[in-house]
Subunit: 314 residues, 2 copies
């Protein structure tokens, strides 16, 4: 559990970066202090959130975007918190091949995050990983999440720019997912746009956006891609850059970053307070036996919590 | 914001139950005390968790299970926390019809939960709703969640019996979802079993289960259904009852319920402590200006959290 050297992280050494992220994930001693030291070196990268239903082709899109950014001379960090991603759980089904496209490229760092049991929650761990990658001088950070689940959607929505990926033909029930993620989109992608139904899906999105009452220029743009054939990627990057330019100009980018820092602060307060409270409860419990009483139903969980918190405050 | 009468909830009055759940969701004054008073009347119902990828037909299956349980004279409560469910977000796409199958039946109560922004988190709100339905004398409680997202999978896994629904032909990437939910299954359902690939999917599941080293009798059973045609539902109910019987006998059911109560207690401690800490921070912040300093990057979120928690402890 030896923490990596700060200077190795800053120069983007892949092993040091990987070790730092692991330290944050597993809450090694000193990992919080490491993040504090890295903080002044971060805040430069553009953070893209890529989200959408399973089967939308998010990982392929992330791969193609990475290639495209690399060609433009930019370094890229990818954090995949999508359990369906080939970078994470999906790998069980045997598709690690895409990662290998960048395996020999020091300008790319790809990391999957455990989606369950993360200490301090998924969003705290993801924020830590992004801070490390940012400090390691990556220009573009991509965080890929599946567009279902409260934490997962929140993570994408906290990016500088949230890209929502949809596909034609997944069926109404799957598309219903979009109901939950429509509101967070800064850019829509209709992927697999060579399939039947792509026009209809794009029109549906445009129509829905027209109902928001925003003028056309303010609405999230809709881009068509066929990620597997690398089609539309230039267009998507151009659109992302336009959105970025507009937001830099009107102060929206700065506002989002301030908001994100505030949420990170609040999350960290929760992490610290809860760790403290848990220790206090463990100490109290030997006398109160609340856990035992809850388990045998001699007290309800609500009253037991009241009693614990009152006792802890004394 | 008038709380319903306890006696009306206990006799299963639909309006009183609906109002009580709303009170818990929106954290009305007195809602915690109401749950405390209902607690002694709960603990009797069987809680089924139904989870699986979007498009697996979970809602149709829940509907058919409800019909089947009703025929056997049992009352049913359904809590849908699936954003793809026609009971919740999916309703936007216009499928409320299935709910109407039970609209005139006082023995069925169906409630969708907001998946975002729930006070105290999704699992606390769901636990409250299940407690209310349990106290209202429902025999069977079904909690439907989409099998993606940490909170959503956790909720299903905390049921008495977790049913994981899969379907053939959703594509490898979608099926990769199962990697995240396989471990929580007590019963597998291969739904839409009349489709091509149903045999292959069932064999894949059986093969995967055989690798766990458990003897065949201990492995989760695999049931085939065509929920839309009401096929296999009797079989599924029989299987659920067998699993229940085995677990009642070997003490596993009691163990799970004790564990669930313990987690509810811990969640409630978190809810109370965090509410308290937030008030304290608001009071502190006027002097410390930490939020402002975090937002303009003059302090990092980790150090700011340390400072807050130290100050709050004084």
């Amino acid at each position: 559990m030896k923490l990596p050297e700060e200077k190795d992280i800053l120069r983007g050494d892949i092993r040091a970066v990987a070790r730092a992220i692991r330290a944050v994930e597993d809450d090694w001693p000193g990992s919080r202090e490491l993040l504090t030291r890295l903080f002044p070196h971060a805040g430069r990268a553009l953070i893209l959130g890529i989200t959408g239903p399973p089967g939308a082709g998010k990982s392929t899109l992330v791969d193609r975007l990475t290639t495209r950014f690399r060609k433009a001379g930019k370094t890229v960090g990818v954090v995949a918190v999508d359990p369906t991603s080939p970078f994470t759980g999906g790998a069980i089904l045997g598709d690690r091949i895409r990662m290998q496209n960048h395996a020999t490229d020091d300008g790319v760092f790809i990391r999957s995050m455990a989606t369950r049991g993360a200490l301090g929650g998924l969003s705290a761990t993801t924020a830590g990983a992004l801070l490390i990658l940012d400090a390691s001088s990556k220009d573009i950070l991509i965080v890929e999440t599946v567009g279902v689940g409260q934490d997962e959607v929140d993570i994408a929505s906290e990016a500088d720019i949230a890209v929502v990926v949809l596909v034609p033909g997944l069926g109404d029930e799957v598309q219903a997912l979009k109901a939950g993620i429509m509101e967070i989109a800064d850019v829509f992608v209709v992927n697999k746009a060579d399939r039947d139904g792509a026009d209809r899906l794009a029109s549906e999105i445009e129509m829905m956006l027209s109902l928001t009452g925003e003028t056309k220029g303010d609405r999230p743009p809709v881009v068509r891609t066929v990620a597997s054939a690398s089609q539309g990627i230039d267009d998507l990057v151009k659109t992302i850059e336009e959105v970025r330019g507009r937001r830099d100009a009107n102060g929206e980018m700065a506002r989002r970053r301030r908001e994100r820092l505030l949420r990170q602060f609040e999350t960290q307060v929760e992490v610290l307070v809860m760790a403290k409270v848990r220790r206090r409860i463990d100490a109290l419990d030997s006398s109160l036996k609340l856990r035992e009483r809850v388990q045998n139903r001699s007290i309800d969980p609500y009253s037991a919590a009241d009693e614990t918190v009152s006792a802890a405050a004394e």
